[in-house]
Amino acid sequence: MPTIEKDLWYRIKDGDSSAFGELYDGFAGAMFSLSLEILGDRWEAEEVIQDIFAFLWRKPESYAPDKGKFSSWLLVLTRNRSIDRVRSRKRRVDRGESDDILSAREDQNASDGAEQATASDERSHLRRAFKKLPPEQVKVLELSYFKGLNHEEISERLELSLGTVKSRIRLGIEKLRHTLSTLRT
């Protein structure tokens, strides 16, 4: 994962625009990739990124070090803002359900062979590790993290118990965490 230098947030908090530029250069790509994956719409994903950076500049105090790593906080914020838009869109437009969108993500995963060489090693490993998870865990993680469905909605859609949904999410995440820790040692 791209790293954000510890002092970068402090410099942004002090109104340092070059620090803000450094943050953008280092991290906007990862944020945009995530948002585009969730929304499937480039202009909307750009809006999310623009809004988040505007928010960060106006209210840098919304992050605090005790909330964990700045990079992780940013990615989760990006995910949540993108999911908010998906939910808002669903309320406005009657669309076919996300099986189409899900298969779009599966298609993207299938085209890994054409992935840019510029992707970091860690990201490549994570993507491969994700694909190697048991399909039932992948499906649940996709619906939960990238589509924003809650446990009840996933349970209903996949005809699973709530407990099974939660345990598959947890197991999938634990496997990814193990992959990452192996990579870093």
């Binding site: 929304l39 499937g40 990615l75």
Partner: protein, 399 residues
């Protein structure tokens, strides 16, 4: 412990019910384990985030983002002028908001057959174009061949605009006004970007700009000609809040074009919050902003102009202000155009129509037929401070 871990994960995923969320947040203040599990959950979710397919942002997005770090223009001197003080003292909201329909005509009310055909053709073209430039299109993914092929298969939109403007459009009748609104507000800028995509090297920034312009133009056309697309107009008239963010997305850091003039838009004061209640109302607001931009862009001495939305400057109103550095001579000329004095034809007449469109819209937005009263209350106007010219209009705020 496992329950607390699960709660931390559910909280991070945003699926914890509201009451449990509040309890968990309270727990965070006291419980080291809760904080530790939240940090872990966040890192786990960040790892998941990194499995997204890599995608790159265009340079233009960076330019837009970095604009947030630039100092905002100080509007206090403008807001302290006599005109704005008068507006502040005399502004009152209407009981009912504009809900569409006023000044909307049937397409057959256009007497000139060639103009009617041009409006219909233009609408069809734009309806078919919109999905080709939307955010999930091939063009948005950087594949421009199909888009350029379609654009090149049709006459340039600028030619259509020029054809319409050859006719005598001085009449005050509603059909003529509708033609003017659909021709002079968004369409000149839209034509510029469409032609550029058509003729030159295509790029994401122009495609994106064209998307927003196209979407807005379609709404303005449907609001102007009620039988053009009745099914979509029904959707446009539904209650649906439109936020300032929609305007900011379009105007922030945008390149604007009005016939041969181009300018860079600067913004700084857009707020978070609703501006209008329905698409038809948003179309009014939007068209007005384009009219302000079109009046300023050709006269700016730097090529830039500011477009701002101010929320709390006038209680009960959102204040749209456009301003640009301008020579005394250009300002005087603009004043004469606005009042209609010394306007005989050509581009001066066109620009005079832009101001008339704003005036018509003020009557609709403030649900009155008394334009003189709106003028006296300074609901809209022109002012000059040092070497900047300011144009503004006030619209009832969504409370």
């Amino acid at each position: 412990m496992e329950t607390l871990k699960q709660k931390a994960l559910d909280y991070t995923l945003g699926v914890l019910p509201k009451e449990e969320s509040l309890l968990f947040e309270a727990c965070l203040e006291e419980d080291d384990d809760a904080r530790k599990f939240l940090v872990e959950a966040q890192e786990d979710c960040a790892s998941l985030s990194m499995t997204a397919t890599p995608a790159s942002l265009s340079n233009e997005v960076r330019l837009r983002v970095m604009e947030y770090t630039e100092p905002k223009m100080d509007f206090d001197p403008f807001l302290s002028t006599d005109d704005i003080s008068r507006l502040r003292d005399n502004f009152s909201s209407t009981d009912n908001r504009y809900q569409g329909g006023d000044a909307s005509v049937d397409i057959n009310d256009i007497k000139e057959g060639a103009i009617k055909d041009e409006v219909l053709t233009s609408y069809d073209h734009l309806i078919n174009l919109l999905p080709m430039i939307s955010g999930n299109s091939k063009a948005a993914a950087g594949e421009f061949e199909d888009l350029q092929s379609v654009l090149r298969s049709k006459p340039s939109l600028s030619e259509g605009v020029d054809q319409i403007l050859e006719y005598d459009l001085k009449s005050e009748n509603p059909a003529t006004r509708s033609v003017l609104r659909t021709t002079l507000a968004t369409l000149p800028s839209l034509s510029f970007f469409s032609d550029r995509l058509r003729e030159d090297q295509a790029n994401l920034a122009d495609t994106r700009r064209l998307f927003y312009l196209c979407r807005d133009q379609l709404k303005i056309m449907r609001a102007s000609f009620k039988d053009l697309d009745p099914d979509r107009l029904i959707e446009d008239e539904k209650l649906r809040l439109h936020g300032a963010g929609l305007l900011q997305t379009k105007w922030w850091g945008a390149e604007h074009a009005y016939f041969s003039s181009k300018g860079q838009v600067k913004c700084g004061h857009f707020f978070d919050g609703p501006v209008t209640e329905r698409c038809v109302e948003f179309a009014e607001y939007d068209a007005n902003m384009y009219c302000l931009a079109n009046l300023l862009a050709p006269r700016s001495s730097t090529g830039d102009f500011h477009m701002e939305l101010l929320k709390d400057a006038i209680p009960g109103a959102t204040l749209a202000v456009a301003t640009a550095k301008m020579s005394d001579q250009e300002h005087l000329s603009l004043q004469q155009i606005i009042t209609g004095s010394l306007v005989t034809g050509g581009t001066a007449m066109q620009d005079h129509f832009l101001w008339k469109l704003i005036e018509d819209s003020m009557l609709r937005g403030h649900q009155t037929s008394n334009l003189k009263e709106l003028q006296e209350r300074k609901i809209y106007g022109i002012n000059r401070l040092r070497d900047f010219t300011y144009l503004w209009f006030a619209w009832p705020a969504v409370l």
